[in-house]
Amino acid sequence: MTEAVPTLPREELIAEPVSEVGLMSQWRLMALRFRRNALAMIGLIGLIIGYTIIALAPFLGPNDYLRQDSNYVSGPPTPIVFHDQTGKFTLRPHAMAITTELDPVAFKFKYVKDESTYHPIKFFVKGDPYTLLGFIKSDIHLFGLDAPNRVYPFGADPLGRCMMTRVLMGGQISMTVGLLGVAMSIIFGSIMGTASGYYGGMIDDVMQRVIEIIASFPTVPLWAALAAALPKSSSTFTPLHRYFLITVILSLVNWTGLARQLRAKVMSYSNSDFTMAALAAGANDRRIIFIHMLPNAASHIIVVAALAIPGMILGETQLSFLGLGIMPPLVSWGALLKDAQQVSVVLQQPWLIIPGVAVIITVLLFSFLGDGLRDAVDPYSI
């Protein structure tokens, strides 16, 4: 594998000047193959945009994500139009005013569009204070209305909180859970997989059994049982602790896949010439594993990890949807979807489903990226 010559001369690569291909490093070739894959590039660019958006979430969202507006409980999305009161086209978007009326019969709030009043949407407007990236304090929002009017582009939840800001803030949890969990899976899985593949014997037997036992539980019920075992929120156990432990739980089940793959890789490397050469040169086990084997397996570890991220994101979403995952005041897309458990609620407030759209887009982008990486690393595999 140290040779940089591509194992399969694919059509695209033949078109390249042959001499150059022979000189390129393995990683460079992978990057080349990856860039040729349109879907993979969509995945990569989309995710870069996505992570930028969630990093700037409190700035991009027009309201504070915890602010409850008792006059706008379960309010619909504010209609946004490109004309003013007079009906004349304007480049500046306008938010249609919505008046709240109490329905005396059903004793519920009714939201009536006021077609005669439009508030101009201002950019870089002062609003609720927030802290960006944990240290920048500000109260400037990308867009919003002049006080006291407020805009709710995605509507409001059953407590009158702005759905758009909540979806953006939920992304901060949902989009990092997969990354953190996978990072932990890589650590667990690499140690276990390498150990059992390299040393074999008892260690290998025990690990194979452990993996078999973990695999004999249905995933979500096992995750749920572990999550239910976490302590209740208290001063010593904050929702943030819970968030980290949830990622640990997700990776506790997830590492087995990586360990299995790595075990097979390490086993095949054990008999390869470069390992024999290293042994003959007097390298010890640690050197062989860390200098010779793991760098060779690095590309495969990355692929397996990338393909595992969607499963983790979906896992967190399901756990939080069941009420066993992320707890308030933190929000995640699954926790937001918990409000939409009943069909009757969704029928009346379809905007509660928006977090689900975010989940689907993110998972799709990660699948594109993972598939692209896999094809770039190994043109043979499925």
Binding site: R209, E212, I213, A215, S216, F217, P218, T219, V220, P221, L222, A224, A225, L226, A228, A229, L230, P231, K232, P310, L314, T317, Q318, F321, L322, G323, L324, L337, A340, Q341, V343, V346, L347, P350, I353, G356, V359, I360, V363, L364, S367, F368, I382
Partner: protein
């Protein structure tokens, strides 16, 4: 073959013991017990129990026993069919588990059959009609199927059915049949309802399996024996179904063991949205309420279902591929 089956069954029992240990430990982990919940509830209602009454209840439920003693008590009763009491429902956990488990198994098996049939047909079609418009459409649907969480799909399907078709979906029966004794009409009614959970739960699996099937078949179609078969002048249909598909199916059986856990987990979550009388809603509720005997029984039985399913998959694979028997 018999040797192989005996060995596999042996493994199953060893794994089963560990499954029970893990199941019990997980359920024991949460701090506090149901008794504390119950006391809190009684106090909230304004009542209180004397210290002696609390002591008596603690002894009755074995709250202060050491964990190994609790486990021993639990497992020795478990094998005789007594899974303990559900505190919340005040009835044996066994009754609740066995009332619900069959539905989970039936729905899971039907989902498996559905997703296999569809994914073989779809996979073969898209492999033999590579790079056609329909192949691309199928690919789009496969990606969507892989990225939509099942519970969300369930919600969307239900909203669609209710809003556009005016159907009342959810549950396994219409209202008038829920408590009715079994009859032909009830069976027909069941069939009218059961396809929704099957399609919703199976979507993810179908998308995945049909991708596997497509790429397997593409690999096999590139092999020389397929070329030979074609050059002999065999009908294309025969080449594909008799020569290629048979060999492409093999990896599909191998991933059977992986798709079962996914189906069972999917079923438990979807059941909450679709309001199905299966294990899911009761299990997750038991976890939230720390109704530990019930939760443990459900978890162990879900794992047993899975173990048996995997055993059957292994036997099927060994039957199809003799090399495995002599490994």
């Amino acid at each position: 073959m018999l040797n192989y089956i005996i060995r596999r069954v042996g493994y199953l029992f060893v794994t089963l013991i560990f499954v029970m240990v893990i199941g019990f430990v997980i359920i024991e982990l949460p701090p506090g017990s149901y008794l504390e919940f119950e006391l809190q509830r009684i106090r909230l209602l304004g009542g209180d129990l004397s210290q002696a009454q609390i002591k008596a209840l603690e002894i009755q439920y074995g709250v202060n026993d050491p964990i190994y003693l609790k486990f021993w008590k639990w497992i020795s009763r478990f094998v005789t069919g007594d899974f303990g009491e559900s505190f919340e429902y005040n009835m044996p956990a066994r009754t609740l588990v066995f009332a619900r488990l069959p539905f989970t198994i039936i729905i899971s098996v039907l989902t498996l059959i559905f997703s296999w049939t569809v994914s073989i047909v779809v996979g073969v079609y898209s492999a033999t009609h590579r790079r056609t418009a329909l192949d691309y459409t199928i690919t789009v649907f496969q990606f969507i199927g892989l990225s939509v969480p099942a519970f969300l799909l369930a919600l969307v399907v239900m909203v669609f059915a209710q809003r556009t078709l005016g159907l009342h979906v959810g549950g396994l029966y219409s209202d008038q049949f829920v408590n009715a004794p079994w009859s032909w009409d009830k069976f027909v009614d069941l069939l009218k309802h059961i396809w929704i959970p099957i399609v919703v739960i199976g979507a993810h699996n179908t998308a995945w399996l049909s991708r596997v099937m497509r790429s397997n078949l593409l690999d096999v179609l590139g092999m020389q024996y397929v070329q030979t078969a074609r050059s002999k002048g065999l009908l294309e249909r025969r080449v594909i179904w008799k020569h290629a598909v048979r060999n492409a199916l093999h990896p599909l059986v191998m991933v059977l063991g992986m798709s079962l856990p996914a189906i069972i987990s999917g079923e438990t979550v979807v059941a909450i949205v679709l309001n199905l009388p299966t294990t899911g809603p009761l299990y997750f509720r038991a976890l939230l309420q720390q109704d530990m005997y019930l939760a443990a029984s459900f978890l162990v039985f879900l794992a047993i279902t899975l173990l048996i399913g995997n055993l059957l998959a292994d036997i099927l694979l060994a039957w199809l591929d003799p090399r495995i028997r002599f490994e």
